[in-house]
Symmetry: C2
Subunit: 430 residues, 2 copies
C-alpha cells in the first residue's frame, strides 16, 4: 500500500535539505569550538572554501540558487533539545560532561553566521567571516553541501535502474573492502568520512555496514548525528585550524615558533587520555617533534595526516623512544587518504609496535570511482579552511608541499621559522 500521507508530505518540501542538524558535523569541531570559545572567543576569522581539483568546475555543475537554498537552510537550524541532551549527557571517551554548561548554552543559542558567495572561473568562492567559535562551525556543512550537490548533479540524468545498480555496485565494493579488513584481528578503525561523503544517507549506510561487518573493530564515527542515532562512539580530537589561527595571531617569529605548542598547552589543560593526540604536521612534523617540550611526549598518541604515513609513524616511534617513552603504549592514528590496501600494509607494519588506529575518510564514504561515465563521481579535493585571523593570513605547510596553503611570502617565512627542510611531494587525491 502507498502511504499517501508520507508521499504528500515528502512532496511538500521545497528542497531536499542536505544538512538537517547542527550536529551533522565532525565531533572534533565541537571539541575545538569549546576550546576556542574558552581561550580565543573574540578572534575574528575568515574561512574559505577551496577546491584543489580545478578540473571539477563546481559552478558549472551546481546551480547557484540551489546552493544558496541549501546554505540558507543550514542557517535556519538550531540545536534540538534531544541533540543538546545527548551532548550534555553522553559519555565521550569515557568522560561525562565533556561539554561545559557555558559552552552548551552558547551552542544552544548559536546560529550559523552569514556567508558570502560568488562565482569565479567556474568555481564558487564561498567565504565566512566573523567570530571564530561561530564561523568554524560552517566548515563541515559547507563541504557536505557542495559534495552532495555535486553528486546530485551527476546523478540527475540517470534512470531508476541505473541508480539502483550504481548503489548496488558501491555497496558491493564497500562490503568487499570490509571483508578484507575483517582479516585483521586487532583492527581499530573509525569513520572520518563526513566532510567528503557522497551524501548523508550513503555515509549512514557505510557506518551501518561497518558496524555489521566489523563489530568491535569499528570504534565509531566522527559524525555526531550518526553517532547519536546509531548509538555508537563519536570520535575525534583536534585539527590544523587551531595551530593555523594561533600562528597567524603571533606578533613575531619567536611567538610564531611557540604557537603550535601553545595550542597543545591549552588542550592539555582541558583534556586527558585519548583526547591528548598530537597533530604534528601543520608546519612540518620533524621540526615540531624535535622542538617539542617533554610533557608532549607523555600524551596518548599522534595523528599522521600528511606525507608518507609509514615514515611519519617511524618518526613518531623514534621520537618517543628518544624521550624515554614506550611506543607500545602509544597510539598512532592514520587519517590521510586511506584505502584498504594502505590500511592493511600499515596495520602489518605497525601492529604490535604501537597501538594503531585508522580514521578512514573519503574512500570509505565516497568511493564511486569508475561507476559512472567519465568517472563523474570520482572523489575530489575540496577543503574549507581558516584563511585569515584578525586580518592576518594563515599558513599551513603539512608534510606534503602539495598541500601548502597561504601567501607565498608567508609560506617562506613559516618554512624558515619552523626550519622545514626538504619535503617529498605526494599526489593529493582527496
Amino acid at each position: 500500500m502507498v502511504d499517501i500521507a508520507t508521499r504528500v508530505y515528502n512532496h511538500k518540501w521545497k528542497i531536499d535539505p542536505i544538512v538537517r542538524s547542527l550536529i551533522d558535523t565532525d565531533f572534533y569541531k565541537l571539541l575545538m569550538c569549546q576550546s576556542v570559545f574558552r581561550n580565543r572567543p573574540d578572534t575574528t576569522v575568515t574561512f574559505s572554501l577551496i577546491n584543489r581539483s580545478k578540473d571539477i568546475r563546481l559552478a558549472d555543475l551546481i546551480d547557484e540558487g540551489e546552493l544558496r537554498e541549501q546554505l540558507d537552510h543550514v542557517r535556519g537550524l538550531s540545536l534540538s533539545r534531544g541533540e543538546s541532551t545527548w551532548l550534555r549527557g553522553n559519555t565521550f571517551y569515557g568522560k561525562r560532561q565533556m561539554f561545559r554548561p557555558d559552552f552548551m548554552e552558547f551552542l544552544e543559542g548559536m546560529r550559523l553566521p552569514a556567508y558570502h558567495l560568488e562565482k569565479r572561473d567556474g568555481q564558487y568562492e564561498l567565504t565566512f567571516e566573523g567570530k571564530w567559535p561561530e564561523v568554524m562551525l560552517w566548515e563541515i556543512p559547507a563541504l557536505t553541501i557542495l559534495m552532495e550537490l555535486r553528486s546530485r548533479a551527476v546523478l540527475r540524468d540517470m534512470g531508476r535502474f541505473e541508480l539502483q545498480v550504481l548503489y548496488a555496485r558501491a555497496m558491493t565494493r564497500l562490503w568487499e573492502k570490509i571483508q578484507v579488513l575483517r582479516q585483521l584481528p586487532d583492527l581499530r578503525i573509525a569513520d572520518f568520512g563526513t566532510r567528503r561523503r557522497h551524501s548523508f544517507l550513503w555515509q549512514d549506510w557505510c557506518v551501518q555496514a561497518m558496524i555489521e561487518g566489523l563489530g568491535d573493530r569499528f570504534i565509531g564515527t566522527s559524525n555526531c548525528l550518526i553517532a547519536m542515532r546509531r548509538d555508537i562512539e563519536a570520535i575525534g580530537t583536534n585539527a590544523h585550524e587551531l595551530p593555523m589561527v594561533y600562528a597567524a595571531l603571533a606578533e613575531n617569529d619567536a611567538d610564531l615558533r611557540e604557537a603550535p605548542y601553545e595550542v597543545l598547552a591549552d588542550w592539555h589543560e582541558e583534556h586527558e587520555g585519548n583526547l591528548r593526540v598530537i597533530l604534528p604536521d601543520t608546519y612540518g612534523s620533524k621540526g615540531f617533534l624535535e622542538q617539542a617540550p617533554d610533557w608532549l611526549a607523555g600524551w596518548t598518541g599522534i595523528r599522521i595526516d600528511s606525507g608518507d604515513p609509514a615514515a611519519g609513524a617511524e618518526l613518531a616511534i623514534k621520537w618517543w623512544q628518544d624521550r624515554g617513552e614506550d611506543p607500545r603504549r602509544k597510539l598512532i592514528i592514520f587519517s590521510d587518504g586511506l584505502d584498504v590496501d594502505k590500511i592493511v600494509s600499515l596495520y602489518h607494519q605497525f601492529h604490535g609496535r604501537v597501538k594503531v588506529s585508522f580514521g578512514w575518510g573519503t574512500l570509505l564514504t565516497n568511493d564511486f570511482r569508475d561507476l559512472v561515465p567519465d568517472n563523474g563521481l570520482a572523489p575530489f579535493s575540496l577543503v574549507c579552511k581558516a584563511v585569515a585571523a584578525n586580518g592576518r593570513p594563515t599558513v599551513k605547510l603539512s608534510d606534503n608541499p602539495s598541500k601548502a596553503t597561504g601567501p607565498a611570502a608567508e609560506i617562506e617565512r613559516y618554512k624558515r621559522v619552523f626550519d622545514v627542510g626538504e619535503q617529498v611531494a605526494q599526489k593529493v587525491v582527496v
Copy 2:
C-alpha cells in the same frame, strides 16, 4: 514514518505465499492447456517432480510443513476477475481472443487437484494425478515453490547487510550482462526464467531490468502475471509434454512414430504465425525433421532446447533449404541453458542467416552462483514432468542423452522407433 497498518497487516500472514496467482505461470502452459482441453480432455496423467541434482538434498533443506502450506495455498487459488479479463481481452502475438470462451470458463472454474508428497532419500517425491488439463497446471507452481523454498532455506541465517549485499551483487551481475547484450543491435530476447527463478520478486526485478536496459530488444516474458502487471508481451508456444503424452497413448510402434506429428497437426489447426514453432527434439531432432511432413517446413520457426545449439540450428537451416524454404524468413529460438557468452556467440553465428530469438531462463532469473558460502544458491536441475498417461509411462529422449527420462526398456524402444543414432552427451547445468 512507519506505516503501522501495513506492518501489522504484513505480520498477520500465516505464511509468505510464493505463488499468489494462477497466472503466475508460463504462457505456453495455458496455450497447451487449451489445446489439451480441446483435443485430449479426458486423458489421465501423472506429473512428477524430479530433482536431477541429487546432491541438493531438498528434503533436508526444506521443511515438509512449510512445503505443504505453500502447495495448499496454491490449491486455494482461482482465476481473479482481472486475470480472466486480461486473458480474454488481450492481444497475444497480434491475435485477439486467443483463448476460446469454453476454455476460459473451464479455467475460471478450475482449482488445482490434490498432490501426493513423500520424503525419500533426502528428496521429496511430489506427484500429481488426474485429468491432463488440470494436472498440467501444477508444473510451474510446484517448481517455483520448491525453488523459492530452497532459496529461503539458504538465506535464513544471513544478516540484514549480508542480504543487502547479496542482492546488490546479483543486481550488478545481471546489469553487467545486460550491458553486454545491449551491444547486439538486432537482439530479440525474452524471459523464460519462471520455473527456476530465485524468487518471484527477483524475477520481477530481472524483467524490469531487461525492460530498462534493452528496450525493444526485450520482447517479453513467459510469465503471464508479470506480463500483465508490467504491460509487456507474454511469450511462449508449446513444450515436450504434448508429444510425450501423445506418444505414450500410441497403441503401437507405427502410431508412436506418428505421435509427434499428430501433436503439431492439432496445433496447426489452432494456431498460425509466431505460434507455429516446432520443438523437434523430444525424440531426436535429426530423425524428426527427416520424417516430417512438408507442411511443417512452412511453419514459422524452430525452438532448440537440447544438444549443441549451433549444431541444432545448422540442422534446421539445412532442413529448410532441403524443403525449398528460405531460412532468412524463418525463426530460430534458442532456449537451453543460455547465458550471455552463449547468446553473443549464437547471435553472431546466426544473425542475418535466420531470424534469431532467445528464451533466457535460469541464468537470467537465478544467477546467484558463488554469491554465498559453499555456493548454496547455485542453480540446479529441477523439473516437473508428465511421467505417465492413461497408465502408460512417458519417455523423453531429447538431443542430449543425459536428459533422457522414462523406463529403460521404453527408452530403447523409442530410440529404435525414432531411429535415434549416436548422440553427444552434454552436461546438464540447469
